[in-house]
């Protein structure tokens, strides 16, 4: 064995290939799950709102009824902020959108590709808490991606469900469209 290895050791090509492999593997592991906060058009803090006692579903109100949890309309924001801290800087920006009747172009944080079917409704209605997938948003100022929502991640959770339904949840067309 030692002879072979010693022979190999003199092969810079093999060394280089090994190095590349290591970099790719390490890079792959490290790059997963990194959270990068995105610049949003408005300084909105989830932390502040939740600390003030608000429920996620107050704003993301269609989560129990629809595929999409929903981002509140400008009207909804204004509903409170006409009276609450209307003078702060970010409220002025909000006011601007309202006056121009423009939607707020929020940056997406979590995104599924379009061949994936995901509906909030069954997940939320079956008692799954928002934090399970979105992390502890109450401690985030800006919403951040807390997990890499890839197929294995979905399946890991689906596999842990009740034995009677878990195989159903492994059916490809449940999530693929």
């Amino acid at each position: 064995m030692s002879r072979i290895v010693s022979g190999l050791r003199r092969q810079p090509v093999i060394l280089l290939a090994g190095l590349v492999l290591v970099v790719v593997l390490v890079g792959g592991v490290v790059s997963r799950g990194t959270a990068v906060a995105q610049d949003q058009p408005l300084d909105y803090s989830h932390q502040t709102h939740i600390a003030a006692g608000m429920d996620c579903l107050f704003c993301h109100s269609s989560a129990t009824r629809s595929q999409i949890a929903g981002v509140p309309s400008v009207q909804k924001c204004m509903g409170c902020h006409e009276t609450i801290t209307p003078e702060s800087e970010s409220m002025q920006t909000l006011q601007g959108y309202w006056e121009r009747q423009e939607p707020i172009p929020w940056e997406r944080v979590n995104k599924q590709p379009d061949f994936v079917y995901f509906s909030h409704q069954p997940h939320v209605n079956s008692g799954l808490a928002c934090e399970n997938c979105h992390g502890d948003v109450s401690s985030m100022d800006q919403a951040q991606k807390s997990v890499e929502m890839d197929m294995g991640w979905c399946l890991d959770c689906h596999a842990q469900q009740d034995e009677a339904i878990a195989p159903h949840l492994w059916d490809c067309v449940v999530c693929h469209q």
Binding site: Y117, S119, P122, P167, H168, C172, V173, V174, Q177
Partner: protein, 244 residues
């Protein structure tokens, strides 16, 4: 032969076996189902040249057969879509499981898993699998017609009729949210929904009372290329004859 399914632990759990019955006596070849399918499933159009070469992407097509010669000539219509075979020849040959058998009897096609070997297309005796030869084109603003429940398939991917699986999923989810069972006739694929003569009926073959089961038991019932043993989920009722 369906007993072989019981070897597989994932197939025993399901209550449903979705199926379709098509009464050829009622089909008038009106093409409503064809356009309906295009609209529901974001099926691309390919243009005249490609169509002339035989590359139309219709997931559902009306086949027209001639019989006899003038003046005793007859024409018959037969809508043919993916037959959703129980023992589907296409499934076993896919190297990456892009097509597989769902536990409700559907021959599922997972577009984004497809690498485009076209083996399934060669293996399908009905030639009902459509390949995306090019990226689909939807000149603005035609892309706004696209159904968000169905992904748009890029080039190099096989696609086919899914029995409008997105509709099945939606109805099931709605029924679950309302805490009830799915009722017969509640799920309608786009073709069955639009069919003006009600020639196409969709339902659960496991439910002996469903309309589709009743039709499947008809003496007129047959399946396409039955002798190949593919056990299609589509049942045809052959055209009748009136004697005067």
């Amino acid at each position: 032969m369906t007993t072989r399914l019981s070897d597989n632990p994932t197939t025993r759990l399901s209550d449903h076996r979705w199926g379709m019955a098509i009464d050829l006596d009622k089909c008038t070849g009106c093409q409503a189902c064809v356009v309906s399918c295009h609209a529901e499933n974001n099926v691309p159009i390919v243009g005249e040249e490609e169509a002339a070469y035989g590359r139309t992407a219709h997931w559902l097509r009306i086949e027209r057969y001639w019989e006899g010669e003038y003046p005793n000539v007859k024409a018959k219509f037969m809508p043919v879509m993916c037959q959703q075979c129980t023992e589907a020849p296409c499934e076993a040959v896919c190297p990456v499981y892009a097509t597989y058998h769902s536990d409700e009897g559907l021959n599922g096609q997972i577009y984004n898993r497809c690498i485009g070997t076209r083996f399934c297309g060669s293996a399908c005796p009905y030639k009902q699998r459509m390949y995306n030869w090019f990226d689909p084109v939807f000149p603005e603003p035609l892309e706004q017609q696209l159904n968000p429940d169905v992904t748009v398939r890029s080039r190099g991917i096989m696609e086919k009729c899914t029995f409008c699986v997105q509709r099945i999923r939606r109805v099931k989810e709605d029924a679950k949210a309302e805490g009830r069972e799915v009722t017969d006739g509640e799920i309608q694929p786009a073709c069955a929904q639009s069919c003006p003569t009600n020639a196409i009926v969709f339902g659960d073959l496991n439910d002996p009372e469903s309309r589709v089961s009743q039709m499947a038991r008809s003496s007129r019932a047959f399946r396409l290329l039955e002798n190949l043993g593919t056990e299609p989920g589509v049942v045809y009722l052959k055209g009748g004859e009136t004697r005067v």
